[in-house]
């Protein structure tokens, strides 16, 4: 499992993911690359089974270059076919999953997913988040909520629910995303490893944050982590004082 997040800020988007991969046997490693830049303003991220996930995002990047897709809509429409075909191809070839389990993986939802997020400067002139999930990989646009969280998403959804406000800037949202990852890893062992973070703004387009920048954010949010725990302890104190 993993944790994949796409969150909208007032002036952009933040994409975040951990780098832990868990094999069907339960072994974990923290080296997985889970997102790539597709065009100037668009990024793609994967979660779930690592091999077809990485193949899917790599092929989308290549097809976007070859076919010179220039709009957000062109990218998200072609992505649906790319992800589905990579998933089917992998499922037919893989020996990681026993043959009798394959039909269940083929039909089941949640084993593999993708998120495309970025700025649509042609049609809507807005920051957009779109998700795809096995087995259909149909386009699901995230409109009503500022956050899309996948895989081990419960704690992330909760933390965003209690700390998010619509006017938040991309800079503060990076802090919030890192905070969410650090807090999630305190409980969920399948989420972990170095945090991967990218932002999309209108002026700069897609930008991947370097490890040093992420390390600085980790140091910066220590105060918020302490404050969060103090506030929660305040609840316990209020209960005990009653």
């Amino acid at each position: 499992m993993t944790l994949a997040l796409a969150i909208r800020a007032a002036d952009g988007l933040v994409l975040a993911s951990d780098s832990r991969v868990t094999s069907p046997r339960g072994e974990t490693r923290d080296t997985s690359e889970k997102f790539l830049q597709v065009s100037r303003d668009v990024g793609v991220m994967t979660y779930g089974i690592a091999a077809p996930g990485y193949a899917g995002i790599t092929r989308l990047v290549n097809e976007t270059k070859i076919n010179q897709y220039s709009t957000f809509d062109q990218i998200i429409e072609s992505a649906s076919k790319v992800f589905k075909s990579e998933f089917e191809e992998w499922l037919n070839k893989t020996q990681e999953i026993p043959e009798d389990v394959k039909p269940r993986v083929r039909q089941g939802s949640g084993s593999l997913g993708f998120v495309i997020a970025g700025y649509d400067d042609v049609k809507t002139k807005q920051f957009r988040i779109v998700s795809y999930e096995a087995p259909t990989f149909q386009i699901q646009e995230i409109v009503a909520s500022p956050i899309f969280a996948a895989a081990q998403w419960h704690i992330a959804q909760y933390l965003v629910e209690v700390t998010y406000y619509p006017e938040i800037s991309v800079k503060q949202l990076c802090n919030l995303a890192v905070f969410v990852f650090l807090e999630t890893t305190t409980v969920e062992t399948t989420v972990g490893g170095p945090i991967q973070l990218a932002i999309v703004t209108k002026s700069q387009g897609y930008q991947r944050l370097h490890d040093d920048d992420i390390q600085r954010i980790i140091e910066n949010v220590q105060g918020q982590i302490c404050s969060f725990r103090t506030e929660l302890l305040g609840v316990a104190k209020a209960i005990c004082m009653a």
């Binding site: 959804q157 700390t163 406000y165 800037s169 919030l176 918020q224 302890l233 209960i239």
Partner: protein
């Protein structure tokens, strides 16, 4: 619809809570089953399957229950036999109570389909179903010194906070019971739950108002 069940250890007993309670009555609360005066079973997350499994065992058990562990062990053997070779939904049972003859020590045991229904003992609190948020908050603020009356508010707070993020997956109700040595198993009545919930809503609003300013430019 998912489900959330858990048992919290307190200084003077146990608090059992779930998100699925239709009328806060013992027989109508599908996630909690009263077995004896001081013993209950929580069912998660496939409630119907787990409840049927438990109820297919209980009438055939003619002897009174010796201990929480012995009931869990007997149910474990029954479930292994019933489910052997079958494809079954993910389900688990949490056994919570005070052993006959023991005056206050609470016991918690569990069996789960994913662990071949082997009996597991728990030293701390136990969470089942969609429990990540409840478990997350518990890890931050739980203290074993609480009384059952205090822990009831804490339990309702866990469920309420979980519902904030999982609102379309959890039931909107909260069911609760306590097990203490003198009082036995007691269901929280409608009026008491209303009082607890008004307290929890106050605490939650207060928390939300302070946390919203956690990520601002001024900090």
């Amino acid at each position: 619809m998912g489900n959330l069940v858990f048992a919290i250890r307190c200084a003077d007993g146990l608090v059992l809570a779930s998100d699925t309670s239709y009328h806060l009555q013992a027989e109508k609360n599908p996630s909690m089953v009263k077995v004896e005066e001081r013993l209950a079973v929580l069912v998660e997350p496939d409630v119907n399957f787990g409840r049927n499994l438990l109820q297919s065992y209980l009438p055939s058990a003619k002897k009174p229950v010796e201990s929480v562990h012995s009931l869990a062990q007997a149910c474990s053997e029954h479930c292994k036999k019933e489910c052997s070779g079958k494809e079954i939904p993910i389900t688990g049972l949490i056994f919570a109570g005070i052993d006959p003859g023991e005056k206050g020590r609470v016991e918690l045991r569990g069996i789960h389909a994913s662990r071949m229904f082997d009996v597991i003992g728990f030293a701390g609190n136990v969470f089942g179903g969609m429990n990540s948020i409840a478990r997350f908050i518990d890890r931050k603020i739980y203290t074993p010194n609480m009384t059952v009356n205090q822990a009831k508010i804490l339990a309702a707070f866990y469920v309420f906070q979980s519902q904030l993020a999982l609102h379309n997956r959890l039931d909107e109700y909260i069911g609760m019971a306590t097990i203490t040595y003198p009082g036995g198993l007691q269901w929280a009545e409608k009026e008491e739950m209303a009082e607890i919930m008004s307290r929890v809503i106050g605490l939650s609003l207060d928390l939300k108002s302070r946390l919203t300013f956690l990520f601002t430019e001024s900090r």
